[in-house]
Symmetry: C2
Subunit: 170 residues, 2 copies
């Protein structure tokens, strides 16, 4: 809690903590699948960053654009359903994309509760430039198409099962 300013203190007794205690230990970091996924996700972020910052995009912003390239003119809730995000995350993110000129946000006149998110010309145009990015990332992974597809299926299966565990009761 303290800022830990660097002043000379009386030496602290070394207090040797038990390095190894017993047989049944808590899991180690390198055995945890969740940690491997956590780190791989970060690694992907790092790979994407330089590729995307040429277009002044972040990784989640790129995912929003991918969603809109697939189908344009969607509500915030619809985007959220596709991305697994809610308005608390999407609203500021969409405002930034609007500020960057990639999309527009307009209330739906037929239902003023909804916001229609639409790509601008600039938003559609970078689809071409961004097309190679995913391949670029795939290359960085150094996996063949078969391995990639295999991993994709496995990850989606795991994701769906985990989601099933949180949505309602198993």
């Amino acid at each position: 809690m303290t800022p830990l300013t660097r002043t000379k203190w009386p030496a602290v007794t070394s207090n040797a903590s038990p390095e190894i205690s017993a047989a049944a230990r808590a899991p180690r970091l390198d055995e945890l699948l969740c940690f491997a996924i956590y780190q791989t996700n970060h690694a992907l972020n790092r790979i994407y960053k330089p590729l995307l910052q040429d277009h002044a995009l972040t990784y989640p912003q790129y995912l929003v654009l991918v969603t809109l390239w697939e189908r344009d003119d969607r509500s915030v809730g619809d985007l959220g359903a596709a991305l697994g995000l809610e308005s608390n995350t999407l609203t500021p993110l969409l405002k930034r994309l609007e500020g960057s000129g990639y999309l527009t946000r307009t209330r739906n006149p037929a239902d003023e509760r909804q916001v229609r998110v639409r790509l601008t010309e600039a938003g559609r145009r970078i689809e071409d430039k961004a097309r190679g990015i995913a391949d670029c990332v795939a290359d960085a992974g150094g996996l063949g198409r078969a391995e990639l597809d295999d991993l994709l299926v496995q990850m989606k299966t795991l994701r769906d099962r985990l989601d099933a565990g949180t949505a309602t009761s198993p």
Copy 2:
């Protein structure tokens, strides 16, 4: 950029955007491995949250404790190397864990630049309580040990290759 206040506007012409344009399209969300990983990571976070909040821990805080259970009395940089994080992320996180009473942060008298992070009694004690958490999460994934191990190896391979691509030149 505007707060989009809900006032009745003149109807916007529907402007039908091209639903499908051509053959060579940008990748779709459900074809992107990075997105599957991104979502699986979020799903894991959601699974861990209720299990961890009994101990007033977040998921990254739990990972720090796992690291310390493996080996106690480490510097911030050492923890960062294990977790793939730097002091800008770790320092505030460690301060919160200190505030929660799970660890102490003291300058290393032998080298005042370093901060020694050590578990408290409370920090060691929850190792026992937390032991089942990872199993609990594995259960939620619904995969057998063989599949888990397989996925773990694949993810670590992918992570390492991605890291190799960013650390220096390929």
